[in-house]
């Protein structure tokens, strides 16, 4: 088994464990009336799409290690 396959198997195992933990329903720790901070722009705007794009562009076109952020890892322009 190649090292990449081992890494893949470990990552899938980790995610399967996390998914199982969530599916068991033991993670409802914060009631709705105590989530005010997560509606605050300080936390909500941390995923501004245009800011995220320009940062990804800076890193993915100058390093050999894109991915792991829910986005495409390569392709789509001649600089990748």
């Amino acid at each position: 088994m190649s090292r990449v396959a081992v890494v893949l198997a470990r990552a899938l195992l980790l995610l399967a464990g996390l998914g199982l933990g969530v599916a068991l329903g033991g993670c409802a720790v914060v009631p709705q009336n105590r989530r005010a901070h997560f509606a605050d722009p300080l936390l909500r705007d941390s995923d501004d799409a245009l800011d995220g794009h320009r940062k990804r562009k800076l890193y993915t076109t100058r390093e050999a290690a894109a991915g792991g952020d829910g986005k495409r890892a390569g392709g789509g322009c001649s600089c990748q």
């Binding site: 190649s2 090292r3 990449v4 890494v7 893949l8 990552a11 899938l12 980790l14 995610l15 996390l18 998914g19 969530v22 599916a23 329903g25 993670c27 409802a28 720790v29 914060v30 009631p31 709705q32 105590r34 989530r35 005010a36 901070h37 997560f38 605050d40 722009p41 300080l42 936390l43 941390s46 501004d48 799409a49 245009l50 800011d51 794009h53 320009r54 940062k55 562009k57 800076l58 890193y59 076109t61 100058r62 390093e63 050999a64 290690a65 894109a66 991915g67 792991g68 952020d69 829910g70 986005k71 495409r72 890892a73 390569g74 392709g75 789509g76 322009c77 001649s78 600089c79």
Partner: protein
């Protein structure tokens, strides 16, 4: 008598009618009854962002220098982005995103330095325009489930891409956790050309990514998120104009495998701080079958001041090993070879700062103005300065 009978009837009607009234009241107090019917369409966000990249440095893949290298990697990019998000009723969200890059590149423009005038990327240093249009449609398929489909097209000189994506997102445990599964596909169709820039013909590349993510509230002020991405790339994975110096002082074309499988996993923590601030920490691990192993750590702090001003500071460190065929002086017998400095072993650091002002308006949502500056520097002396400016309205 008549009055007494009427009172009795009224009492009976009230007793019998109470369950009906209660039932009707349950129905009457749904979201639509309280808030009114949702508008047919409403704009959620309109914003533009202008970013300027100024890069200096030297890499052995560039022909903008001595034949034995390294050559200049000087690059200037002016990037404009526009984003428009609209909600249609309760269940549909439309997003249109248009990035446009204006690029000048010493490396791409230098391919005719020792050879005949190239057919392609011939005006790279003058101005090469890259434009893209992306559209996403989000559909709420239930109280806890959202599907998002996307399609886009990218165009630049002698390069065309088609982009597709599909994402499934589900809220779990009374919205304490979110699970997402997504797939992205990019098909690139572009000119392949010889070392001197003459057109060889068309070639293609496919990039398929699968991502899975999970976020979980740990407390009223803490969120943790995990993500894993697997990417398969097939086809011509070189840009075909990179070159590699040889031991005899000549240059030959870069040759890369036509298959690459990439894995990346990350964990991030988002923490509200009691003095009107937010902290975001992230670690990412990367490994692929070209023998690159990488680690990246990010930290970002945002602080609100005087209610309307938000200051931000960020730091990122990245370290990677080089691809198995990286060299700055190749033997001609080598089957695979690259001198691309981006694919070599390196450490990089990035420091950034930003300021945002928000101004609520009476009828048109909140106006925001953002300015940011980042500096990126690598152990191989490549440096990039980035200035960015955004403005828009959030409704």
């Amino acid at each position: 008598m008549a009055a007494a009978a009427s009172s009795r009837l009224l009492a009976i009607a009230l007793v019998l009618g109470t369950p009906c009234v209660s039932f009707a009241r349950d129905d009457a107090f749904d979201d639509k009854a309280v808030l009114g019917a949702p508008p047919a369409a409403s704009v959620e966000l309109v914003q533009t962002r202008i970013t300027a990249y100024d890069q200096t440095g030297y890499g052995y893949q560039s022909q903008a220098g001595p034949k034995a290298g390294p050559g200049s990697e000087t690059l200037h990019v002016l990037q404009a982005q526009g984003e428009f998000v609209m909600k249609q009723g309760d269940d549909l969200t439309h997003r249109v995103w248009v990035p446009v890059d204006l690029v000048t590149s010493a490396s791409a423009d230098a391919i005719d330095r020792y050879y005949a005038k190239p057919d392609v990327v011939s005006r790279a240093s003058a101005q090469n325009l890259a434009a893209e249009v992306d559209y996403q449609l989000g559909v709420r398929a239930g109280a806890e489930t959202t599907w998002t489909a996307g399609a886009g097209m990218h165009y630049e000189e002698n390069f065309l891409s088609w982009l597709y994506s599909l994402e499934y997102q589900r809220s779990l445990a009374d919205d304490n956790a979110t699970f997402s599964l997504s797939a992205q596909q990019a098909l690139d169709w572009f000119d392949s050309f010889y070392l001197g820039g003459q057109r060889e013909g068309r070639t293609s590349r496919s990039t398929t990514s699968f991502n899975v993510g999970l976020s979980q509230l740990l407390s009223p002020s803490t969120l943790v998120a995990f993500a894993y991405g697997f990417t398969l790339q097939r086809g011509e994975l070189s840009n075909t104009w990179n070159s590699v110096p040889t031991v005899t002082g000549e240059r030959v074309s870069e040759e890369l495998p036509h298959v690459r499988d990439r894995h990346a996993a990350s964990v991030s923590l988002l923490q509200w701080l009691p003095w009107q601030a937010a902290l975001e920490l992230r670690y990412r691990f990367y490994r692929d079958d070209w023998e690159v192993t990488a680690h990246s750590v990010d930290a970002r702090l945002r602080q609100r001041l005087f209610g309307r001003l938000t200051l931000g500071a960020s730091y990122r460190h990245h370290t990677q090993t080089g691809v198995f065929c990286f060299t700055t002086q190749t033997l001609l017998v080598s089957s695979y070879r690259t001198a691309d400095s981006d694919l070599g072993p390196l450490d990089s650091d990035s420091l950034g700062g930003s300021a945002e002002v928000t101004l609520p308006t009476r009828r048109h949502g909140t106006l925001f103005l953002t300015f940011g500056y980042d500096t990126y520097f690598r152990t191989d002396d490549l440096r990039v300065s980035v200035a960015t400016w955004a403005s828009g309205l959030r409704f």
